[in-house]
């Protein structure tokens, strides 16, 4: 089957069919719904969709399909917890329910573009956040003076360098066993990822590797080779997916169903022990709009209520770091995913395009939010989100670019400069008035 036929004749009609059958409606006034029945219908729709559509393999132009019985067996048997790291830094990441009183798994860092000079300091700063359970390490796109490009030897070298930098940064932070769970942020090609995963460079099976499909519900041999390698090694495999609101899945309702369906792809095709979702809106390119918050919230509730796997969400803010708008957007997104039962990760600033634009203070904020907001209900989250959106929604198409780490940090001590601390303190005080408690 051609990829065009898969998209046009199989995927799109089936998404429309299940949205109609289960009667979903996105209400902009309820970006974070608290309707369990709606969440369960999304789950059923996602299963119907996955059973009928499967995963398209672009390398073979064939569809990988499973019967409903096979999907249900996988749901029963799939890993419900993932163990990360070594020694005293070893942690378990478990599924969590919506409205849970428990503190979510707090994952920090980002795989965004960072220069080699700064990368080590950034990882060390992430590692020093004691409430962070696991870490993402940056992506470097240059080795020496040479740019790396996907599939090239330079990409393999960049992956090896970052693997070494990541491990060394965590050792310097006093957390040598802390797991890095976004391998290989510097590599896109499967061959580079596998090569840079040699244990000589510091990789351990108790880290985590993200295996990416592409939109929507498609995979290729490059990713499947990663699965074959990682599964044989006994390493943690993370199913990552970034469904596109406005893309093949259509509007918020269809995108929510497809986002949930990736979990089935994850347990069956990617053999995932943990799951990451980062749905994104095509216009504007970020994840803090009402439609996006709805997608991530209701799809997470569907999976967390019915599948119960280790599952976390990554958002993209329009605004860059070291701006008030960034924290409003981040708080809005974190409210939704926290209350919906997800593990949380730093909301990436400035759509993740600014080199050195992710800051350790973003990670501090994530953890303080995760702990301070334990017990947040979906209903309360929805109320806060609507109020926060009044602060940023009209500016979301053209958010401020933000500042880079060298501009707002003392790079010798990796301490924020006074201007950043002042902005952070002011913003935290404002957020408190909205019902956001940081701890």
């Amino acid at each position: 089957m051609s990829v065009k036929d898969f998209d046009m004749k199989v995927f799109i009609p089936k998404v429309r069919e299940v949205v109609k059958k289960y009667d979903f409606r996105f209400d902009p006034k309820t970006p974070c719904p608290w309707d369990d029945d709606l969440a369960d219908r999304i789950y059923q729709a996602a299963m119907d969709l996955y059973v009928d559509v499967g995963t398209y393999c672009t390398s073979t132009e064939r569809v990988i399909k499973f019967t409903r019985k096979e999907v249900e067996e996988a749901v029963y048997e799939c890993p419900k917890e993932a163990w990360f790291g070594e020694g005293p830094d070893r942690v378990v990441f478990k599924g969590r329910k919506p409205d849970s009183p428990d503190i979510p798994h707090c994952h920090v860092g980002s795989g965004t573009n960072t220069t080699e000079e700064v990368a080590l300091k950034m990882v060390e700063a992430y590692g020093r956040i004691t409430r962070a359970k696991t870490v993402s390490i940056p992506s470097v796109t240059q080795v020496g003076h040479l740019k790396t490009s996907s599939g090239s030897p330079m990409e393999t070298l960049a992956g090896i360098n970052m693997m070494r930098i990541g491990r060394e940064g965590l050792r310097r932070a006093g957390r040598p066993g802390m797991a890095i769970i976004n391998h290989m942020s510097s590599c896109a090609a499967g061959i580079s990822t596998v090569a840079a995963s040699h244990s000589e460079f510091g990789a351990r099976p108790s880290d985590g590797w993200l295996v990416a499909p592409h939109a929507e519900l498609k995979i290729d041999y490059s990713s499947l080779n990663q699965v074959a390698f990682l599964n044989s090694w006994g390493a943690n495999i993370g199913q990552e997916a970034g469904p596109i609101l406005g893309g093949y899945a259509g509007g918020p309702e269809g995108t929510a169903v497809v986002t949930a369906a990736y979990a089935f792809h994850g347990i069956l095709v990617a053999r995932a022990t943990y799951h990451l979702t980062y749905p994104i809106q095509i216009v504007p390119v970020c994840s803090t709009t009402p439609g996006m918050i709805f997608v991530v919230s209701i799809s997470s509730q569907a999976i967390n209520r019915n599948l119960g796997v280790p599952y976390y969400a990554l958002g993209y803010a329009s605004a860059g770091s070291a701006t008030k708008q960034y924290f409003y957007e981040a708080a809005s997104y974190l409210c939704a995913v926290h209350a919906s039962g997800m593990g949380i990760e730093d909301v990436h600033p400035n759509k993740a395009v600014l080199t050195n634009g992710a800051l350790p203070i973003d990670s501090e904020f994530t953890c303080a939010f995760g702990h301070g907001m334990a017990g947040l209900t979906r209903k309360e989250a929805n109320r806060i989100i609507l109020r926060l959106m009044e602060k940023y929604l009209d500016k979301i198409k053209d958010g401020p670019k933000g500042r880079t780490v060298d501009q707002v940090y003392d790079l010798d001590t990796m301490k924020p400069k006074d201007e950043l601390l002042k902005l952070y303190d002011e913003t935290v005080r404002e957020l408190r008035d909205y019902g956001i408690k940081l701890k």
Binding site: T141, S149, A188, I282
Partner: protein
């Protein structure tokens, strides 16, 4: 009749649009049908997409309906030696090793809807293939999409490839994609960059006008 054909294209019904076009061919000039029916419909779909009122599936269905209807109209246009006034010719694709296509597909649609002749090379396209196609179709613009930081350098490869062959000034090179920004476009010497998929048409038209290469307004 124009309204009916517009409605059918917007609804993505190629069969209906073709039927209307076929039945009207005796009375209405095929080029008028394109200019008054098909093109405005494609523009409406593009505008609604920009406003978030409809999405990629509806856009692709409208594009298929356009193609199906053009199969009816094109032979008649050839008979009458008519052709659609095109703004410019574009070769578009996603760069080498990058398999993401959604943004590129939307830009291709928007450009078609705005009167550009678009040659879509698909995904994972090496620099040499972009240039080979551009030379073959006498293109004005090469538009290259990259969605990952590790595939962005292949946008620069296209510019390097053009420069190495003395062709750099022959083409307007546009770059875009999720991780691409103006700084990167400036760094590699691209002529234009669009942050949003909806920016591409405006950027292209502006650059064409600046170079005096626009074939229409």
């Amino acid at each position: 009749m124009f309204e009916a054909i517009r409605g059918a294209i917007i609804d993505g019904s190629g069969a209906e649009a073709s039927r209307i076009a076929q039945s009207a061919l005796e009375e209405i000039d095929p080029l008028d049908m394109v200019n008054e029916g098909l093109m405005p419909a494609m523009n409406t779909v593009g505008e609604r997409f920009g406003r978030g009122e409809l999405f990629l599936p509806e856009m692709l269905e409208a594009a298929e309906a356009w193609e199906e209807t053009m199969k009816v109209l094109k032979p008649k246009m050839l008979e009458k030696e008519e052709s659609i006034l095109k703004v410019a010719t574009v070769v578009i694709g996603t760069v080498q090793t990058d398999i993401h296509e959604i943004g590129k597909n939307i830009v291709a649609y928007m450009m078609t809807a705005s009167g550009f002749e678009v040659h879509d090379m698909g995904i994972d396209v090496p620099a040499s293939k972009f240039v080979e196609k551009a030379e073959q179709v006498d293109a004005d613009i090469i538009a290259a999409s990259a969605i990952m930081t590790t595939t962005m350098p292949y946008q620069k490869d296209i510019i390097d490839y053009l420069e190495a062959r003395g062709l750099r000034n022959k083409y307007i090179v546009l770059v875009g994609g999720g991780v691409v920004n103006q700084d990167w476009a400036d760094e590699i010497g691209a002529d234009g960059y669009g942050e949003l998929v909806s920016d591409a048409v405006d950027v292209a038209k502006q650059l064409l006008a600046e170079r005096g290469r626009s074939r229409s307004d």
